[in-house]
Amino acid sequence: MAERGVLGLFTSAEAAASAGAALREAGVEFEVLTGSPYPEGAFGEHTPPHRLYVFPLVGALCGFSVAILLTAGTQLAYPLVTGGKPVLSIPPMAIITYEGTMLGAILFTVLGVLFESRLPRPLLGLYDKRITLEGWIGILVRGEEGLLGPVERILREHGAVEIKRG
């Protein structure tokens, strides 16, 4: 059967948290949508681990390599002694290499953040504007059609003001 979803909207964090606890007890995985950050685990949700820290390391390595090649390459391509300094001068190379390393780390970190956040996401899917506008909290469950009925019941029992299906 095709996977469908149900979104329960709550006006209070306590109600959403109790609905989350009930869903967890029932063994149902759910996602929480909020307009502002809450402490991790506040709704009893389980967040899969991320690998964000790999990105800045890879980026730093790439930036370092490019910068070293650039600085060494330009100095060797135009081997003019300036100010009595050697043609391949390590301190100036170190400065530009440092900047390149940091730039690579920053660029890859941003890419990593977007990637791990699963962005860009072309379609919003099940969502409601009042999550950001009114501070409502959305509890989103995906599953087969047969699962959604009981889920909807749990959500309503714990104070969902509106249910959306998609």
């Binding site: 135009y78 900047e99 920053i106």
Partner: protein, 458 residues
């Protein structure tokens, strides 16, 4: 003392998004006025490019004047963003919330403005491409990696890119709020920019990590940028007063001093113009004022080191330079003004809580600091160059031309215009930070007193 407010999400959205959604009359007046000044500056720059740098008051040996002073000044201001945003994020200071984005945006626009000055100063900006871009352009000549003037573009480019990306990444949740709030074409544009943000715990967790990780990465870059700019002067042996080992940290701490003061100026303007009294409160000015005392005193320590050790070897040229700076017209007057405005007027005032909590006084003292810090850069650059050669017939006096003054004035208008236009398109106070502040607000009862508290993840 804290004056926290209880604010709903709806109220926060309304208060912080209104400059984006509605346009008051003063906005158009300000844009027009600033636009006129910027246009005049652009005209002056065009005149400069057409007639050559001779239209400036520059002459041997003072080949760097107002434009380079202003370049260093704006690079300094750009350090505000990282100082406040990054360090306060890493230390989880609650009082950072209303000012982080404004500081980051100030960084981006002041840095972009700063980058214009060396380009314009060259007289033929297109030629600078040959000097810094790593390609030989069929001449067999490559950039001189050993020159600090080539280190500059690498640092400024890295910092500008990093800061701009930092602003964008932390803007995502607010773009989502704008997407949900708007209709029609604005809705489509914000939808595109929001990248499909929905506010899942994973996305919020990564936002927090992004803030910490990018802060930790940008902090070393911020230190390096102004150090590299300082080495434009510090590496030169031939100019008295420049070849000092302390230049890098001295410039960096000076940048922090002027940058944080600029953020205070910006915060006061935001509070007045956008009526954000509930978000930018006296307690924020109090906290930033205390930070400024520490930063200003650290800066003064480095200034004392630079001056004292300038005289350490008692070299005649160095002594002559310091005598010129302290005793000779016009530098003596500028030195007095600089010391008074950069430290001896604002810092004693900031020691008083009543002053720190007075928005108007904080505004004016912060403006004074930046007047002083502009003069500081002038006093580092121009007297040293004026005394560059040992032959006294080479000593000269610098008188800035109207073209230079116009370009410098236009730079202030450009930064202001940039921030104003940004405020029209994106919220200048992070909406999600304000909402998070409400979520994490708590209280502890101690006897009969209720102590404000913050919730932290365990």
């Amino acid at each position: 003392m804290q004056e926290r407010r209880d604010l709903s999400d709806r109220q926060i959205n309304r208060d912080l998004l209104w400059p984006v959604l509605y346009t008051p009359l003063w906005f158009w007046v300000a844009v027009l006025a600033l636009g006129l000044v910027v246009s005049a500056g652009a005209g002056a720059a065009a005149w400069w490019m057409n007639k050559g740098p001779g239209v400036a008051g520059l002459n041997r040996p003072i080949m760097w004047g107002h434009l380079i002073v202003t370049f260093v000044f704006w690079v300094g201001i750009s350090h505000a963003g990282v100082m406040l945003s990054a360090i306060l994020r890493l230390t989880q200071a609650e009082w950072r919330r209303p000012m982080v984005r404004a500081a980051e945006v100030l960084t981006v626009f002041s840095l972009a403005t700063a980058a214009l000055f060396p380009l314009l100063h060259s007289g033929r900006p297109w030629r600078t491409l040959y000097w810094v871009f790593p390609y030989d352009f069929s001449r067999g000549i490559w950039p001189n990696v050993r020159s600090p003037l080539v280190w500059d573009p690498s640092a400024i480019f890295t910092y500008l890119t990093g800061s701009a990306l930092f602003v964008f990444v932390t803007l995502l949740p607010d773009l989502a709020a704008l997407r949900d709030r708007t209709t029609g074409i604005p809705h489509r544009i914000y939808s595109l920019l929001a990248l499909g943000w929905r506010g899942t715990p994973r996305q919020w967790r990564l936002q927090a990590l992004a803030g910490i990780l990018l802060s930790a990465l940008i902090l070393p870059v911020f230190v390096s940028v102004h150090s590299i700019v300082s080495w434009d002067f510090g590496m030169a042996v031939s100019v008295e007063g420049w070849h000092a080992t302390v230049f890098a940290p001295y410039f960096v701490i000076g940048a922090v001093h002027s940058g944080v003061a600029a953020v205070v100026t910006l915060m006061a303007l935001m509070r007045w113009l956008f009526r954000w009294e509930d978000y930018i409160r006296s307690e924020h000015f109090d906290a930033i004022g205390r930070l400024l005392i520490v930063v200003a005193t650290a800066w003064f320590f480095f200034f004392a080191l630079e001056f004292l050790f300038g005289l350490y070897l008692r070299e005649p040229q160095e002594v002559a330079l310091r005598q010129a700076q302290v005793f000779e017209w016009p530098y003596n007057l500028l030195m007095i003004l600089f010391l008074l405005t950069a430290y001896f007027i604002p810092v004693p005032l900031w020691l008083f809580r009543k002053v720190r909590r007075n928005v108007a006084l904080m505004f004016w003292t912060s403006v004074l600091v930046n007047v002083g810090m502009w003069l500081e850069r002038f006093l580092i650059i121009v007297p040293g160059l004026a005394r560059k050669q040992i032959f006294t017939f080479e000593w000269s006096v610098y008188r800035p031309s109207p073209i230079e003054i116009l370009m410098v004035t236009a730079s202030f208008a450009l930064v202001a215009l940039g921030i104003l236009v940004f405020a029209k398109v994106f919220p200048l106070v992070p909406v999600n930070e304000a909402k998070e502040g409400q979520v994490l607000k708590a209280e502890i009862r101690v006897g009969r007193r209720t102590v404000p508290a913050i919730v932290r993840e365990q």
